[in-house]
């Protein structure tokens, strides 16, 4: 197993109702696998998964990427700074 931290921002935080969670995920879980897991466990977030951005250790990550041990993950909508 792999113990990771997952941060939520903006709409994702509002829908999750929390800023961050810690969770245990299978080793070798990919970003796509994480999206599937979150969709199943957090029905409020399911609709967001098609357009969410995901980061691993503060770098953008893509569906096939395998999540490393003890990673800091984040989920958020496309950015709107400025």
């Amino acid at each position: 197993m792999n113990h990771v931290k997952l941060l939520f921002f903006a709409t994702l935080r509002d829908r999750a109702g929390t800023k961050a969670i810690e969770l245990d995920i299978p080793s070798e879980l990919t970003v796509q696998g994480l999206k599937d897991k979150i969709s199943a466990e957090y029905p409020n977030l399911k609709a967001s998964m098609s357009s969410v951005l995901i980061t691993i250790n503060r770098e953008y990550a893509f569906d096939e990427a395998v999540i490393p041990q003890n990673a800091e993950l984040a989920m958020f909508p496309p950015v709107s700074g400025g």
């Binding site: 903006a10 953008y60 984040a74 496309p78 709107s80 700074g81 400025g82």
Partner: protein
């Protein structure tokens, strides 16, 4: 000598004079500065009013992506001397500056205007910051439309 690069997410007022002084070298003769502020009344498209904007950031990642934007500017415009990239967060009211990108160079015809323009465009693409629009009619998170690619 090393050129100064400033990048930060700030809760306090953006101090243009201070930032400009920090990116002005003995060899500097030009600065291109972009600053954005909260617009209280929007006329483009469907007209609406803004009471305030509330910004938040994934601060450590935002600062590292701002540093990356500065590195991209230096790669494209090696003539750029100093770079400052600052985003203010929190609750910001109309007319308040929210973001500042400044690039300095020896002369104005060196691409320094383009460098500052590139800086704000990239910030809006890859730096993890969001704003919530609060108007008399309600509030909603503004979402961008850019999906970073591998390596960004």
């Amino acid at each position: 000598m090393e050129f100064p690069t400033i990048f930060s997410i700030a809760e306090d007022e953006i101090d243009l004079n201070d930032l400009l002084a920090k990116i002005t070298l003995a060899s500097t003769g030009a600065a291109a500065i972009f600053t954005g502020m909260v617009r209280g009344e929007t006329a483009r498209g469907a007209a609406y009013e803004t009471e305030y904007l509330e910004y938040e950031a994934y601060i450590p990642m935002a600062e590292s992506k701002m540093k990356q934007v500065a590195e991209e500017i230096r790669e494209k415009w090696p003539v750029v001397e100093g770079i400052a990239i600052v985003q203010r967060i929190g609750k910001l009211y109309p007319k308040t500056p929210t973001v500042l990108i400044a690039c300095t160079a020896a002369h104005r015809d060196t691409g320094v205007f383009d460098a500052a323009r590139y800086g704000i465009d990239r910030l809006k693409e890859i730096v993890p910051i969001w704003k919530k629009e609060v108007s008399p009619n309600g509030e909603y998170w503004v979402e961008g439309n850019y999906f970073p690619k591998a390596g960004e």
